[in-house]
Amino acid sequence: MTGSAHGPDEPPAGRGGARLAAERPELVIAVPRGALLGDTLDVLDRLGIDTAEVRENDRRLLFAEAGIVTMRPSDVPTYVEHGAADVGITGKDVLLEQPDREVYELLDLHYGHCRMIVAQPEGADPLERSMRRLGAVRVATKYPRIARGHFAATGRQAEIVEVKGSVELAPLTGLVDAIVDLTASGRTLAENRLAEREEIAVCTARLIANPVAHKLKAAAVDDLVARLRAAVPR
């Protein structure tokens, strides 16, 4: 619950407060490890934030001089909501799965493009068959809230099975009829002979902010938003 101990507490006198200078940057940024890491560091480089240390250390998590903390993408909303980071970058898929987080979604960064989809074994339509004969479908996913919401919104009763590992295995073994998962290239789906049936959402990287930092560090947050807007081509 206690917030960051980094940076000065008063808002800066003018714009440019987030710019990296000799002193510590005013904003602490939560950066996602995993698929979004490379693009995120590239964008931060373009803003003049020195990410060399982050690139060299894949075990260290906190980079105070650069104002960066690194974590799993799904933890970014947690750190930002509690104010342990002022702003953060994570996928829209993570935000859709955690809709109750009290964070501002400030900017679409247009990278990390992927889609949340419903997929099932190629050449058959087990979803349709289960719906017709059993009145309900069984769906495996790492995104239970998104899956539940999608099937509820389309008027289908669904039993959602939450799995932690490779979700593609679930329909192949008869555990479920279909899966809800994130796909970028579709290659993993094809290799497991799964075919897309429905698209739920298009997901890209987003900039989020803690609501208190959004007010108390308004100038620094606005400056970061403006510079990110300029740095990421639409």
Partner: protein, 329 residues
């Protein structure tokens, strides 16, 4: 033996209790000196009574049946119970009425979210004083109460809960997109808001005004920026801004000026607010430490139509802020 308590609740032991007592006695003294008499209401209310105040019973999460089958609700805030109390117990008392409370409120929470189900609140309600004098009094008093309690860096954001709705009405935005826009605004989803605006049939300048308004926050210059962004045609929205300006200017006359943030994107999702809304922050706490607003229609629903406003803090969060002040000192 370890015996559990419900998630989101906890015990308070003597050391913490002593500090909480210290905090609340300083706030209590501030309220008392300003003429705010302390009241207590039952922890449970009839559901139909809370419903009268707010369709969603102000988000109450816990209901039980009593021995006669009536539905009782654990209160989720103190404002509706106080409106009920004023109408029933002070049907003819001269106004203004100044009331304060130190009480627990109960919220439904997602499991494992780490949020409290039981919140200890300290608040004041000023009944019978219209805008902007009422707002200026309660906000100013809470700011000095927090100072007296040991906070030094706290700020208050002031916005107008009806501003965005007024603007949407004025621009003739249809019911469906209006609901969707307000939903995104309440969820603080500015990306979704912009995406939706791009699809609406609006002038570029109108679209720009709707997109930029929720991001305008800062000193009093923000109101001028908004006036320019909204243009001459949007008179009703500008009137709402004028009310806000009046309130902020009254505050700026006192010691509070440097603590005020004008926030035109501020929305509070309680249904009974009709005008100004507030949120209190401290840099040591990642969440708002308190909030409030004007609710001019609530008392009327209980049979004594009076303008009113109030403000409340979460004492545990104030405690976190105060402990950090001590550490820094």
């Amino acid at each position: 033996m370890i015996h559990r308590t419900p998630a989101g609740t906890r015990d308070v032991l003597p050391d913490e209790m002593r500090e909480l007592r210290g905090l609340s006695s300083r706030l209590r003294a501030t309220f008392e000196e300003a003429g705010y008499g302390e009241v207590r209401t039952p922890s449970v209310e009839y559901e139909d009574v809370l419903r009268r105040g707010d369709e969603r019973s102000a988000g109450a999460g816990y209901r039980v049946f009593d021995e006669r089958g009536e539905v009782l609700v654990l209160r989720s805030d103190m404002t509706i119970p106080i409106a009920r109390m004023v109408a029933s117990r002070f049907p003819e008392a001269p106004t203004p009425l100044r009331l304060s409370y130190f009480a627990h409120a109960y919220r439904a929470v997602e499991p494992q979210s780490g949020r409290p189900r039981e919140v200890l609140q300290a608040g004041i309600e000023l009944i019978g004083v219209p805008a902007p004098d009422g707002e200026a009094e309660v906000v100013g008093l809470m700011l000095s109460g927090l100072e007296r309690a040991g906070l030094g860096r706290h700020r208050v954001a002031i916005g107008d809960g009806s501003l965005y709705r007024t603007l949407l009405d004025h621009l003739g935005v249809g019911l469906e997109p209006r609901t969707a826009l307000l939903e995104r605004l309440t969820r603080r989803d500015l990306v979704g808001l912009e995406t939706l605006l791009a699809r609406l049939d609006l002038d570029a300048s109108e679209r720009e005004a709707l997109a930029v308004l929720p991001t305008l926050r800062g000193g009093r210059e923000v109101i001028e920026t908004a006036r320019r962004a909204l243009g001459e045609g949007l008179a009703p929205a500008v009137e709402a801004l004028d009310r806000l300006t009046g309130c902020v200017e009254m505050l700026a006359g006192g010691h509070a000026a440097e603590r005020v943030i004008v926030d035109l994107g501020l929305v509070r999702d309680l249904g009974y607010y009709t005008g100004a809304v507030f949120e209190l922050y401290d840099p040591a706490v990642g969440f708002a430490i308190g909030g409030g607003g004007r609710y001019d229609e609530l008392l009327g629903r209980f049979g004594r139509a009076l303008p009113a406003c109030g403000i409340v803090v979460d004492l545990h969060r104030v405690h976190v802020a105060q402990a950090e002040e001590e550490r820094l000192a």
